[in-house]
């Protein structure tokens, strides 16, 4: 046992250098060289300032913007979390009811059955940067009206920001909320 402990210690030091020091350094170097944008967090700049990451959802509360998904983390990107509500937990029902009430208030005239599920149920990471394509089209009339844009141009915006499934089979089609809102701002500025 003593002999093997001594071997273990020497093994751990050597293999530790290989895995922690050499591997980490080489991966970091090559990543920064080949993919600097991704390796530094896919950050988005606007008027010279970092306004967020393309991959990290942020809070949109103004009805002039497209809403993102309900977030149990409150879009705190330094503490990701899900609601972890089980399907028979009354707290889940309450939360979804509250989200639904907000959606019905900001989108007058719609029925609950028309609301896409992802707009009232919380994401896993609390930082979901996307909404479903249905959720984007659902919000288009409101966004168009509040910004004084023709509905067709907002719908066109959704169409051009739709990302399809991987290999046609995997995942959902989606719209990135930060990107479509940036494009929306662009559209507004170029109109006026």
């Amino acid at each position: 046992m003593i002999k093997h402990l001594w071997t273990s210690i020497r093994m751990l030091v050597l293999l530790g250098i290989l895995t922690v020091v050499v591997y980490a350094a080489v991966v970091t170097g090559i990543s920064q060289l080949l993919f600097p944008y991704q390796a530094n967090g896919s950050l988005v700049h606007y008027h010279g300032r970092v306004i967020g990451s393309k991959l990290i959802g942020q809070s949109f509360t103004s009805p002039k913007f497209f809403d993102g998904r309900p977030s149990a983390a409150g879009y705190n990107a330094a503490a990701s979390t899900a609601s972890n509500y089980g399907p028979t937990n009354p707290a889940l029902i309450k939360e979804v009811q509250a989200n639904m009430a907000y959606i019905l208030k900001t989108n007058p005239g719609v029925k609950p059955s028309q609301v896409p599920v992802d707009l009232v149920e919380s994401s896993d990471s609390g930082l979901d940067p996307d909404i479903s394509v249905a959720a984007a089209y659902f919000q288009a009339p409101r966004v168009a009206r509040l910004n004084g844009l023709p509905l067709s141009s907002v719908r066109h915006l959704v169409a051009t920001h739709t990302v399809g499934r991987f290999l046609g089979m995997y995942g959902n089609s989606y719209v990135n909320v930060l990107e479509i809102n940036l494009a929306l701002l662009h559209l507004i500025h170029h109109r006026s």
């Binding site: 046992m1 093997h4 071997t7 273990s8 210690i9 093994m11 050597l14 895995t19 591997y23 991966v27 970091t28 920064q32 993919f35 991704q38 530094n40 967090g41 896919s42 950050l43 970092v50 306004i51 967020g52 991959l55 990290i56 942020q58 809070s59 103004s62 998904r69 990107a77 330094a78 503490a79 990701s80 979390t81 899900a82 609601s83 972890n84 509500y85 399907p87 028979t88 009354p90 889940l92 979804v96 029925k111 609950p112 059955s113 599920v117 992802d118 149920e121 994401s123 896993d124 990471s125 930082l127 979901d128 996307d130 959720a135 089979m169 995997y170 995942g171 959902n172 989606y174 701002l185």
Partner: protein, 572 residues
């Protein structure tokens, strides 16, 4: 369920079959010391490591020595990791000034990462410095190899005749790391960074959001850890929400790539097994039995998630799948495939909140862990568990026809059967025993998050995950409470070593036996008949014992849900 969703699951399962042979052949070349492309670069490094550590690579170990070497290596690894976490505040690479990790959490995390469990009672981005993440990553390289070494030794026990020894643990460790883990993890890391993983060592980024708010965005060396985390079936994510976090998995393509990494070694091992025993049908039969169970579980899980929550439909009026705790870019089908895989292959990272799965979805994830993590399973241990079930299956078949059972030419005696049963009984006792303790004690009850039967599911899940060295969780449970850090920590140790010792004992006994030639009375251990028998053994011997507990947890919740009943405050 949608057509693309089901098609995607079927295509992926077929891809696993295609992947088995090339992966298996590569593993065969590595362990049979045949030529590989990497030899000119790696062989010199290997020699240097043996010289500096004083290992004689021609030395052969009996099963007891093999186990002691493995135990010593795991022990030293645990101590080093524990100390590193306790003093993290004084170590470099800590730009966000994370404080030292407390003793309960450091014990739990140390055990978790050295047993290949990667149960996380902490949120990575709010607890760990970059140095600590790198130390955790070291065990993500090393701990899966311990599991793999076990099955290498076991297979040698089956194939060697009239021998005493099962190989050399140090050689198995070093060759796996140099030929398999490091090159594959390196390629994986670069691909994952290309698909969106950050890989830097800077402070968290402060963003001024479009609406005028401030958002602190945690990042760091994610890609390097994410790669070996998935490849090694570890599952300990950089971030709290793990594979669901967009920095760990930005797209469906990235998630698919991570799944391929996670499946590659366990699937390849089944072909490797057939190759070593000189009958590839043996390996295909085992893989077939695994995939039948995996596919069945995945489709049931997907079906449950696609139906959605009937109470929400009734009370709020929404239509559609269950999206609570799911990411839009994955959707119900891919989330279901990933959650089924994470419990089947035992990597344990999650891309959806398992606590918010529908009851039947949660049931499937629980059952795949309670089966003993043999439905594919992590590096080595999945195949090892399945081979223990195979020993039991030939014993049961032998009872039926009244012949002495034999497996691959080795006579199975009472010693082997006793050991195989031991390897299954201990985890069962630990899961049910600890769960019973948790739901009858103050410390256990205080940590439960969801009311009603779902709370019991949370507890059952925690110990099944611990014993199965899985690491995923029903995330609502307060895993950081001392009661759970210690009991789940012990469950992880029992699950790991209560499996290793009997399995190696079987190998140590079989290796001494003469091989008996196949005769007309030999029960063939390949083909559909044996595959069916194997599945039946897993279901009846392995999992039926949990049926009463599952009835009180997910099944009770399922029936309550569909009759419109809520818990902890009223009905619908």
């Amino acid at each position: 369920m949608t057509v693309p969703g089901v098609l995607g699951i079927l295509v992926f399962t077929a891809f696993l079959v295609v992947m088995a042979k090339p992966m298996g052949l590569y593993l065969y070349a590595v362990y049979d010391r045949r030529k590989t492309w990497f030899d000119p670069a790696i062989r010199p490094v290997e020699r240097v490591i043996y010289r500096w550590t004083g290992v004689n690579e021609d030395h052969e170990m009996r099963w007891t020595e093999y186990f002691i070497a493995l135990l010593a290596f795991n022990l030293v690894g645990f101590i080093v990791l524990y100390i590193a976490l306790r003093i993290q505040g004084a170590l470099p690479f800590n730009p966000m000034h994370m404080k030292d990790v407390g003793p309960h959490l450091a014990f739990n995390t140390g055990v978790s990462f050295t047993t290949n469990t990667n149960w996380q009672a902490y949120g990575g981005e709010s607890t760990m410095s970059y140095a600590s993440q790198a130390m955790l990553m070291m065990q993500q390289f090393l701990s899966p190899i311990s599991g793999l070494a076990m099955v290498l030794a076991f297979i040698r026990g089956l194939t060697r005749k009239n021998a005493n020894t099962l190989g050399n643990f140090w050689v198995d460790l070093v060759r796996t790391l140099l030929w398999v883990s490091l090159p594959m993890a390196f390629i994986g890391a670069i691909v994952l960074v290309g698909l969106g993983n950050p890989q830097n060592w800077g402070t968290y980024v402060t963003a001024h959001t479009l609406q005028g708010g401030i958002q602190t965005i945690a990042q760091g060396p994610v890609g390097m850890m994410n790669s070996i985390m998935q490849l090694g079936d570890n599952g300990g994510g950089f971030f709290n929400m793990n594979a669901g976090h967009p920095y760990e998995t930005a797209t469906a393509a990235s998630l698919m790539f991570q799944m391929v990494l996670g499946f590659s070694i366990p699937v390849g091992l089944t072909y490797y097994f057939g190759k070593v025993v000189k009958d590839t049908r043996q390996g295909w039969t085992i893989l077939g039995a695994m995939l039948v169970m995996f596919l069945g579980g995945t489709l049931v899980l997907y079906h449950a998630e696609a139906l959605g929550n009937p109470i929400l439909n009734h009370l709020v009026g929404i239509h559609g799948p269950n999206m609570e705790g799911k990411e839009v870019r994955f959707g119900p089908a891919l989330s279901s495939l990933f959650e089924s895989s994470t419990t089947a292959v035992s990597w344990g990272s999650t891309a959806a909140a398992n606590d918010s799965l529908m009851p039947i979805g949660g049931l499937i994830t629980l059952w795949q862990m309670m089966s003993g993590e043999v439905i594919i399973g992590a590096w080595g241990v999945g195949l090892l568990g399945m081979l223990a079930f195979a020993v039991l299956a030939v014993f049961l078949a032998g009872l039926m026809v009244g012949r002495t059972p034999e497996y691959l030419g080795k006579k199975i005696g009472s010693y082997e059967v006793k050991m195989a049963v031991l390897a299954m009984i201990v985890p069962t006792f630990v899961i049910l025993g600890f769960s019973a303790w948790a739901v009858t004690s103050h410390g256990g009850l205080a940590g439960i998050y969801n009311p009603g039967p779902h709370g019991l599911s949370e507890v059952l899940y925690a110990y099944s995950s611990g014993v199965g060295n899985n690491g995923s969780a029903f995330g609502g449970l307060d895993a950081a409470a001392p009661f759970y850090t210690w009991t789940v920590g012990l469950a992880m140790l029992f699950g790991r070593f209560a499996m290793y010792i009997p399995a190696l004992a079987i190998a140590g006994s079989l290796v001494q036996k003469q091989s008996v030639p196949e005769s007309a009375g030999t029960f063939p251990t390949h083909g559909f008949l044996f595959g069916g028998l194997l599945i039946a053994t897993v279901v009846i011997v392995g999992a039926l014992v949990f049926f009463p507990a599952l009835s009180l947890g997910p099944l009770a919740e399922h029936f309550a849900l569909w009759s419109g009943h809520l818990f902890g405050g009223g009905g619908a």
